[in-house]
């Protein structure tokens, strides 16, 4: 259609699409799915890290972790707001999360088992997220692109903080270094999976590339991440749990062993270590908070009515 052609022309010209602009239904649908999935990931991602707030081993780390988790809540808020510009409400989106209809990043279905996991999440998980998200700062949909600029700035702070935490552990006692190694062992492969299936398998890529929602392929981003991260890990004195990891002088890239995509598929489908736990915790929080949200609405209502009555009196 003419509208579609004009829309694509704007995209091609690197113009931003804004909420009131015409857009194809599929573009809108894709964005809602991607943005809300991203928002849900921030929200569910608060759980594994939140697990260590009460046990953080120093006050400085406790404050930093709490602030980090709070930032994630903030990211969730910006992203829900960006999704709302596309005509869905936050309530609908949360309902989709709680009912299990909506997905969130599968990485958060892994447990945080020792303190180094907090470092590893910052270093690897936030690191991988940034690789995915930096191109999104130039995404064709304006509100999403602007939200991502803010998110990326904070994420890269978190990433540096996570790496610094790992560094402290790796320069600490043997027990602390062992924690760091254990965390790397458990988080490395799931982090690589965060970029999604290999390009040969990926379903949505073609159209989202054309719409400039996505700008690089999964494998390209994964390779960028590996190339950036492996030297960092070696600097920490840690070993990656991949015997096939090797530097290819010819290409200048780190080659990695085969990713267990059956594990990825399984965890996405619901059978990960913590899928049920995460959803149950979220459901419980929503259910426990229902009376509070109702009270806030009821009070706002009473207030409005009282104000209206006061105006009527004043008008008489």
């Amino acid at each position: 259609s003419v509208l579609e052609a004009r829309f694509q022309a704007r995209i091609d010209a690197e113009e931003k699409i804004e909420p009131n602009d015409w857009m194809p239904a599929a573009y809108r649908r894709t964005l809602v799915r991607q943005i809300s999935q991203h928002a849900h990931s921030e929200i569910i991602g608060m759980q594994p890290e939140g697990n260590w707030i009460t046990r953080a081993p120093s006050l400085r780390r406790k404050a930093a972790l709490l602030a980090k988790v709070q930032d994630e809540g903030g990211h969730g808020m910006y992203l829900y707001a960006a999704a709302e510009t596309l005509g869905v409400s936050r309530e609908e989106l949360v309902e989709q999360l709680v009912s299990g209809k909506a997905k969130y990043s599968s990485i958060f279905n892994y447990p945080t088992l020792n303190w180094a996991d907090i470092g590893a999440i910052g270093w690897l998980v936030d690191g991988a997220a940034i690789m995915n998200q930096i191109p999104l700062c130039r995404c064709s949909y304006g509100p999403y692109a602007r939200a991502m600029i803010r998110v990326c700035k904070e994420e890269s702070f978190h990433q540096r903080q996570g790496y610094e935490l790992m560094l402290t552990l790796c320069r600490g006692t043997p027990e602390q270094k062992a924690m760091a190694q254990d965390a790397l062992n458990r988080w490395w492969w799931p982090s690589l999976m965060m970029f999604g299936p290999s390009d040969t398998e990926s379903v949505h890529s073609g159209q989202t590339m054309a719409w400039k929602i996505k700008r690089f392929s999964n494998d390209e981003l994964r390779q960028k991440f590996i190339d950036a991260t492996v030297p960092q890990g070696h600097f920490l004195g840690l070993t990656f749990p991949d015997p096939d990891l090797a530097f290819d002088e010819a290409t200048g890239h780190w080659q990695h062993g085969e990713i267990d995509w059956s594990e990825f598929a399984r965890v996405v489908a619901g059978d990960g270590p913590c899928n049920r736990q995460r959803l149950a915790a979220k459901r419980k929080a929503e259910a426990d908070g229902a009376w509070v949200r109702e009270a806030a609405l009821a009070h706002a209502d009473k207030r409005r009515q009282r104000q209206a009555a006061a105006w009527r009196v004043a008008a008489e």
């Binding site: 929200i43 608060m46 759980q47 939140g50 707030i53 009460t54 046990r55 953080a56 081993p57 120093s58 006050l59 400085r60 780390r61 406790k62 404050a63 709490l66 602030a67 988790v69 709070q70 809540g73 903030g74 969730g76 808020m77 829900y80 303190w115 935490l165 402290t168 552990l169 600490g172 006692t173 027990e175 602390q176 915790a281 979220k282 419980k284 929080a285 426990d288 908070g289 229902a290 009376w291 509070v292 949200r293 109702e294 009270a295 806030a296 009821a298 009070h299 706002a300 009473k302």
Partner: protein
Amino acid sequence: MSTPLFAYTLRLADDALVLGHRLSEWTSRAPTLEEEMALANIALDLIGQARVLYSYAGEVEGRGRSEDDLAYFRDEAAFGNLLVNELPNGDFAFTVVRQALVSAFMLPYWTALTASRDATLAAIAAKAEKEVSYHLRHAAEWLVRLGDGTDESRRRSIAALDELWPWTGEMFEMPDDERALAEAGIAVDRAALKAEWSRTVDTILEEATLDRPRDGWMQTGGRRGVHTEHLGSMLAVMQSLARAHPGATW
């Protein structure tokens, strides 16, 4: 170097840490995303206050103890916080009512302490005053919503108020070693803040359409290290990792 000043500063720090820790337990459990952020903000303020207070206490003591030595390597009986701060969070109404009652005291407390002859405490107080003024406003707004909201929120608010009231008396107690400090213009006379606290609380309760509970016997003990059974369990968790690796740097 004075021991009363050390003990006093430590008590202020313990108050802040214990309540901050409790609030941090709300993480990913709050009733709304906005409230998630707000509770984390308040917790961060309190943990921040605890940090500077512990650091200063360690300096005053002069034995080289760091903020973390004081937070993580003291036993329950060495903590001098108010009992009300260590009570488990309960439901959201309990958390809100506690925050309102405690902040209504801490705001005039910090205001008064800005005039302390101890320049460090005065500076800490000036920052804390601003923070707590937000804590009070936030908690009061919620208490009004809950008290004047639904039947359920009202019922829960009344229950929380009733549950918490006997723990408020301790706020106005002056530990012996604090009197001399107050007379010297370093600390603040806690008892003298009762009237202002009472007015603030009455104003909030009135807007929340809630009755003020009658004063009865008041719980006490925190300042002497005689706590509730809840502090021990809280510290067991809070200190577990630090204590499992004594001497480690994090």
